[in-house]
Symmetry: C2
Subunit: 305 residues, 2 copies
C-alpha cells in the first residue's frame, strides 16, 4: 500500500538526485530509503529513478509521479490547515437568527460586523423570526444561535445568555399633545391608560408583547389594544398614521421615523426589553465559539464602560 511516506521520500530523492544525501536530509539511513523507493517502484510497477554511477535521476514516469506527489503533499498540508482553521472557528458557516426588534440593535450589528472582520472565511447566514420560532430553530439545529427577547421560559437543552436590558420608549404621533411637552420628562405608564395601543406580535410564541401587557396590568390598568402588527416597523407606521401609540425598544428609535415622537417611561414602569443569546447546550462548534467569544467580550466591555 502506497503511503505518504513513499511520496515524501520520492520527492526528496528527486530533489537531491541522490539517495544517500536525501536520506541524510530525511533523518534516516541510506539503505531503508533505497528499500522504500524500491517498494514504491514495485507498487507502481514502473521504475521512477535511473540509477546512475554518481546518483540517481528521474525517469519520465518518475517525473510524472513526483510532480503530482509534490502537489499531493501540499494538499495534505492544506487539508490539515483547513481542519484546524475550521476547528478554531476561522472557517465554516454560522446561521444566526434574531427577532425583528433585535436586528437593529447596535450590539447585534456590531457583533456581526466584527465577525465579518475577524473571521472573513466564515459564511454567515441570517434569519429573522419571532423569539418563539427562533428558539425552535435553535433546538432543531437549523440555527446555531439567535438573538432573542425576553428569555422568559427556560428551555431544556438550550443555554440562554442574558446580554443587556434595553429601555423601552413610548412612540406617539408627533402631533400628539404629549409630544409637544418636554420630551425629556419621563412619564408613567398609567398616564397612557386611555391611549389606544398598537402592538407588535408574531403569530407564534412569546415576546415583548406579553411583557408590555404585564407591565400595564402592574401599573393598574388594562391596555386597549387597538391594533396588532406583524412587523415591528409597521407598528411605527401605524403610530405615525395616528392610529395610536406604541411601546418599542430604544434601538427602534434609530430608524427613520418621520411623524413619530418618542417619550421616555418612568423607571417605575419596570419595562425593559432584554436582549439574550440562545444556543444549544453543550460545547460550541468552532464558528459558534468564535461568535460567543466576540459576544461575551462585548458584554464585558459594556459593563466596564
Amino acid at each position: 500500500m502506497i503511503e505518504l511516506r513513499h511520496l515524501r521520500y520520492a520527492v526528496a530523492v528527486a530533489e537531491e538526485g541522490h539517495i544517500t544525501r536525501a536520506a541524510a536530509g530525511l533523518g534516516i539511513q541510506q539503505p531503508p530509503l533505497s528499500q522504500q523507493i524500491r517498494a514504491l517502484e514495485t507498487a507502481i510497477g514502473a521504475p521512477l529513478f535511473r540509477r546512475q554511477p554518481r546518483g540517481v535521476e528521474l525517469t519520465a514516469a518518475g517525473r510524472a509521479f513526483v510532480d503530482r506527489a509534490r502537489l499531493i503533499l501540499r494538499d495534505v498540508d492544506l487539508a490539515v490547515e483547513a481542519a484546524r482553521r475550521t476547528s478554531r472557528g476561522e472557517e465554516g458557516q454560522l446561521a444566526i437568527g434574531f427577532t425583528s426588534s433585535a436586528a437593529f440593535h447596535p450590539f447585534v450589528t456590531g457583533v456581526m460586523r466584527e465577525m465579518r472582520e475577524r473571521a472573513p472565511a466564515i459564511t454567515l447566514s441570517f434569519e429573522e423570526a419571532s423569539t418563539g420560532e427562533l428558539i425552535e430553530a435553535v433546538e432543531a439545529d437549523r440555527l446555531d444561535a439567535a438573538f432573542v427577547r425576553s428569555p422568559s421560559e427556560r428551555l431544556e437543552g438550550l443555554t440562554i445568555t442574558h446580554l443587556l436590558d434595553e429601555e423601552m420608549l413610548v412612540a406617539v404621533p408627533d402631533h400628539h399633545p404629549r409630544a409637544r411637552k418636554d420630551t425629556r420628562r419621563r412619564i408613567s405608564l398609567a398616564a397612557l391608560a386611555d391611549e389606544p395601543l398598537i402592538l407588535y406580535r408574531r403569530p407564534t410564541g412569546p415576546g415583548l408583547y406579553d411583557s408590555i401587557i404585564a407591565a400595564c396590568r402592574a401599573a393598574g390598568f388594562s391596555p386597549k389594544v387597538a391594533q396588532e402588527a406583524t412587523r415591528m416597523v409597521s407598528t411605527l407606521s401605524l403610530v405615525a398614521a395616528g392610529l395610536g401609540i406604541s411601546i418599542v425598544p430604544e434601538s427602534m428609535a434609530r430608524l427613520e421615523t418621520t411623524g413619530v415622537a418618542y417619550l421616555r417611561l418612568d423607571r417605575a414602569a419596570g419595562l425593559v426589553a432584554p436582549l439574550a443569546l440562545a444556543r444549544k447546550k453543550g460545547p460550541a462548534s468552532g464558528t459558534l465559539g468564535r461568535l460567543l467569544g466576540i459576544v461575551s467580550r462585548r458584554v464585558k466591555d459594556r459593563a466596564g464602560a
Copy 2:
C-alpha cells in the same frame, strides 16, 4: 506523521458514520481503527468526529478535512496511473528528427500518424535538419530518435537501425529530350555524365550528396555539379527551371512538381537512398519504446508484403 492510511480510514468512517462498520469494511478490527482515528485527530489538533451513542458523525472540521482527503486519495491513484502510463509509453513526449528527404517518405509519415492514433497522450515534437546535425542532436539527448539517410559512419553510443532502401530517381525538366522517350525505360548513370547536376547539401555532415558523387565515380565519370541547394524542395524547383537535372529519392516524386519529369535508373547504378532510425544506445524510454515498436512492426510488414 500523517499517512494515507489515516485519510483512508477517516473517509471510511465518515462514509459509514460508524467505526465498527467501517473497520469491517476496511478489513481490520474496531479498536485499531479507533486508535488511528484518534491519532489523526491528535496530529491535526482538532476533533474530526463527534462520538454519538449510536455511531459517530463528522464535525465541521472533520467535514473540511474528509472532503479534501477524498480528493487527495483520488489524486494519488491518478499519480500512480500517470506514472504507469508514462512508463508504458502511452504518455509523455517524444522529440523526433528527420532529414528533409525523409520527411515526405510514406514510411515516416505513416509511423507518425500511427503514433498519434495509438498514443494520443504523447506530445510529439519534430525537427528537420541534416543527417549530421540529427545524429549530433540524438547524441546530446535533444532528440529521442531521428530518421536519417546513409548511416555510413557507425557512431559509438548510437544504435542505428536500417529500415529500408529507397530507389532514387533522376529528376529532369519535362521539356528535356529524355523525358519525351519512354519514361518506363531505365537509363544508366553514365548516360547522364554530361548533364549539369543540381544537388542538395546541408552545410554540415554527410548525406545523400556523398552517395551520389560516389555512385557517379563508380559509373566512370565525375559529375558536373552545377548548383547546390540547401533545401531538397528547392532542388526540384531548379530542375523545373531548366538549370539541370537531379537525383532524388523516390518519395520526393510525390511532391507536386510541375515541370519536372522522373526517370528510373538502371539497377546497376547501385544508387539507393537508405532510410535508418538513429537513437541512443541502451534501454529505450517508454515513449521511445512505443515508437520503436511501431517502426519495427512496419518494417516487418513491409518485408512480408
